[in-house]
């Protein structure tokens, strides 16, 4: 079974702090994704990566950056957290090659005070 793990289930940070969210997948998948999920808005893509050290902006990249130094790990960075970044963050991975299933982690509920 594919497993996608996220470093924390719950996180509370203060405005202005630098926040790291880590995601690890164990199935040698090419693609990895970071989404945020807010009520009534579905999942919105922040960034994705199709290879090590490669990244592409999604629909809402402002205020975020990412890092993929190793194939299995994709990190989301909030350089200076703000209250409007309070949300559920979901990481996903997919094998690549078309008609991909995305496999999701359990999510990190981030609260910025």
């Amino acid at each position: 079974d594919v497993k996608v793990t996220q470093s924390s289930r719950y996180l509370v940070k203060r405005t202005g702090e630098k926040v790291f969210l880590e995601c690890v997948q164990d199935m040698d998948h090419e693609n990895m994704f970071w989404y945020r999920q807010d009520p009534g808005l579905g999942l919105r893509l922040i960034y994705f990566s199709y290879d090590v050290k490669m990244k592409e902006k999604g629909d809402i990249p402002e205020g975020y950056s990412v890092s993929r130094e190793k194939k299995e790990r994709f990190s989301l960075i909030l350089e200076s957290a703000s209250t409007n970044q309070t949300s559920m963050y979901l990481c996903a991975s997919s094998p690549g090659g078309g008609l991909d299933t995305q496999y999701f982690g359990p999510g990190t509920r981030l609260t910025v005070l």
Binding site: G42, F48, L99, T101
Partner: protein, 113 residues
């Protein structure tokens, strides 16, 4: 701007009833997926449809892809309490191998005993 519109946003029904969830867009999708998400978990893939007019069945769930590949529906027959959850449609535009998806805003289904 939401590329995929799901309706209804909320659905509350009794066990044994039938229901349909709709997913509509003005864009053509190369494939469309349906995911189900339970509280505290990430979304899990239910089905992928790729051909206009395609119908797929998964036990009591029937999925249809519109002829023009702009819309899809999920029909549940004789709903059970275990069907409760958030249902998300997601489309891939342009058929890139990166597997990038656009998600609808979701339908929260509650099935009462």
């Amino acid at each position: 701007t939401q590329l995929l519109e799901q309706s209804p946003q909320f659905l509350s029904i009794q066990e044994g009833e039938n229901l349909t969830v709709y997913c509509n867009s003005s864009s053509v999708f190369s494939s469309l997926q349906w995911y189900r998400q339970e509280p505290g978990e990430g979304p899990v893939l239910l089905v992928t449809v790729v051909t206009g007019g395609e119908v797929k069945k998964l036990k009591r769930l029937t999925f249809q892809f519109g002829d023009a590949r702009k819309d899809s529906s999920l029909h549940i027959t004789a709903a059970q309490t275990g069907d409760t959850g958030l249902y998300l449609c997601a489309g891939e535009v342009g058929g890139t191998s990166y597997g990038k998806l656009t998600f609808g805003q979701g339908t929260i289904l509650t099935v009462h005993p």
